[in-house]
C-alpha cells in the first residue's frame, strides 16, 4: 500500500510536468487541467484531465504527452481519463502558472466571471477590469481583439510602451 501511494506521487509528479502544447511555458499542472493521478491496485496509472475549450485541439496532444511521459518513466499500464464536469476555468491556473505567463509577456487572467443562476446578462458597456501590461506594468492598456492565436487568448495593446501583448481571457 505504501508503495502504491509513493508510486502515485511519483506518477503525479511526472504527469504534472508535461508542457501545454499551445503555451509550452506552462505545465499541465500550472494550467490546472490535470485533475488527479492515481495508481490502481493492478498498477495501472490513471491520469484525469479536463479540457479547456470545447474545440481545443491541444487536448489530444496533452493526453498523448501524459501517456508518453508515464510510459517512458516505466509505467506499463497508463490510462488517461477525461472529466467534463465541473468545466475548466482560468481560476484553476496556479499562481506559479500566472507568474510564468507574465514572465513570457502574456498577461494572466483576472478572476473568472461568476455565473449567476438564470440568464447570463449581456453587458454592453461593461467596465472591464484593468489588465496590466506584462512588459512595463502600465495599466493604460486596451483590448484590440477578444480573440487571438489560440482560443484562450485575447489581443491587447499597451498605450504606455506601445507594445501589443496577449492576454489569457477569463473563462
Amino acid at each position: 500500500m505504501v508503495s502504491v501511494l509513493t508510486d502515485a506521487r511519483r506518477a503525479r509528479h511526472i504527469a504534472e510536468r508535461v508542457p501545454d502544447p499551445e503555451m509550452p511555458m506552462l505545465t499541465l499542472a500550472d494550467l490546472g487541467v490535470l485533475r488527479e493521478v492515481t495508481v490502481e491496485p493492478d498498477g495501472t496509472v490513471v491520469a484525469v484531465l479536463t479540457p479547456t475549450y470545447s474545440g481545443c485541439p491541444a487536448m489530444a496532444e496533452m493526453r498523448a504527452g501524459v501517456a508518453a511521459r508515464l510510459s517512458a518513466a516505466g509505467y506499463e499500464r497508463v490510462e488517461v481519463r477525461t472529466v467534463l464536469d465541473p468545466p475548466w476555468t482560468t481560476d484553476w491556473i496556479t499562481p506559479e502558472g500566472r507568474r510564468k505567463l507574465a514572465e513570457h509577456g502574456i498577461a494572466p487572467p483576472g478572476p473568472a466571471p461568476r455565473q449567476p443562476s438564470g440568464p447570463v446578462p449581456l453587458l454592453l458597456s461593461a467596465t472591464r477590469h484593468v489588465v496590466a501590461c506584462p512588459r512595463c506594468g502600465a495599466s493604460d492598456t486596451e483590448e484590440t481583439s477578444r480573440f487571438g492565436a489560440t482560443s484562450c487568448k485575447a489581443l491587447w495593446r499597451c498605450r504606455a510602451c506601445r507594445e501589443p501583448f496577449e492576454y489569457v481571457k477569463e473563462i
Binding site: L122, R146, G148
Partner: protein, 276 residues
C-alpha cells in the same frame, strides 16, 4: 525543439487509432469520459437533441470558416475563426454523445461527413450564405443568444454528459454573443451605410426566426437580447414572426445546405480513411 514539445509525441510511431484528421478515430472527443446513459432518460429524444444542436454548430462553424481570408480585418477574421472552432468542438462532443445514445455507435465523422443534406437537422438560419459582415454578425447574435439560452437550461439535463457539454458551452457562447452584440451596436450606431447594412442584416433573418423559436422557451431570452442590442444601436426591433414548425429541424433545407456540405464532405468522401 526539445523533446519537451508535446506534438512530437504524436509523430512517434503509433498505431492506426492515433492518426491525424478526419475518418481516422484520431481522437474520440469523449475519450475517457464516463458515457453511461442514466436509467429513465429518453434516449431517442436525447439523441435527436444532440444531433440538432450538433448540426447547428457544425454548419455554423463551416459558414464562419468561410470568412477566413475574406473578413474586413485580421482581428475579425481571427475572431470568427475562433468562434467557429468553439462551435466545431461543441459539434464533435454532441455527435459523439449522439452515437452513444442512439445505439448506433456511429463516430463523429459519420455524422459530419457521411450523411446527406436531408439527414441534417440544423435550423435553416444556420445554413444561409454569409452575405456581408453585417448579416453574418446579425445571424451570430441570434444564434449565439438562442444557443446560450438553450444551453443554460441544458446544464440541468438528466444526461450528465450533455449537461457538462452545455456547461462548457455556456462560457464560450457568452463570448460569442458579446462579440456579436458589440458589433451590432457599432455598425448600427456607425455611419449611414453601416447602419443601413446592419438593419438589412437583421431584417433578412426575420423569415427564419420562427423555426428557431418553435417549441423553445429560449425565445423570451433571445428577444430580450435583441431588444437590448437594437435599443443600444438605435435600430428598430425587427418584427419577429410567431412560431412555426418544420423546415431544417425536419430535414427540409434551403438550397444552400447541399453545396455547403458538398464542400465540407468532399475530401472525406473522395479518400475515405485517408491520413496525412
Amino acid at each position: 525543439m526539445s523533446d519537451d514539445h508535446v506534438y512530437l509525441t504524436l509523430a512517434e510511431g503509433h498505431e492506426d487509432d492515433t492518426r491525424w484528421a478526419y475518418g481516422t478515430g484520431f481522437e474520440d472527443p469523449l475519450y475517457g469520459v464516463d458515457t453511461a446513459v442514466p436509467d429513465g432518460v429518453d434516449r431517442e429524444g436525447l439523441a435527436a437533441l444532440c444531433l440538432a444542436l450538433g448540426d447547428d454548430a457544425l454548419v455554423s462553424a463551416q459558414r464562419l470558416a468561410e470568412w477566413t481570408t475574406r473578413a474586413p480585418e485580421l482581428e475579425e477574421e481571427v475572431a470568427l475563426a475562433n468562434i467557429g472552432l468553439d462551435l466545431l468542438g461543441q459539434a464533435r462532443l454532441l455527435y459523439a454523445r449522439c452515437g452513444q445514445v442512439d445505439g448506433t455507435g456511429r463516430s463523429e465523422d459519420v455524422y459530419a461527413y457521411f450523411r446527406a443534406p436531408d439527414d441534417f437537422r440544423n435550423v435553416a438560419l444556420a445554413e444561409l450564405p454569409n452575405g456581408d459582415f453585417a448579416f453574418t454578425i446579425a445571424r451570430l447574435l441570434i444564434l449565439a443568444s438562442w444557443r446560450l439560452a438553450h444551453f443554460e437550461r441544458l446544464t440541468a439535463s438528466p444526461d450528465p454528459v450533455l449537461a457538462a457539454i452545455a456547461a462548457k458551452g455556456v462560457k464560450e457562447l457568452t463570448y460569442h454573443r458579446q462579440y456579436a452584440a458589440e458589433w451590432v451596436v457599432r455598425l448600427g450606431d456607425g455611419t449611414e451605410e453601416s447602419r443601413r447594412r446592419m438593419r438589412a442584416g437583421l431584417d433578412g433573418l426575420v423569415p427564419y426566426l420562427g423555426e428557431l423559436f418553435d417549441a423553445h422557451d429560449a425565445k423570451t431570452d433571445v428577444l430580450a437580447v435583441l431588444r437590448q442590442v437594437t435599443e443600444a444601436a438605435d435600430l428598430p426591433l425587427p418584427e419577429v414572426p410567431s412560431c412555426q414548425g418544420g423546415l431544417g429541424r425536419d430535414g427540409a433545407h434551403t438550397e444552400h445546405l447541399a453545396p455547403l456540405l458538398a464542400e465540407l464532405q468532399s475530401v472525406a468522401r473522395a479518400h475515405p480513411g485517408a491520413t496525412w
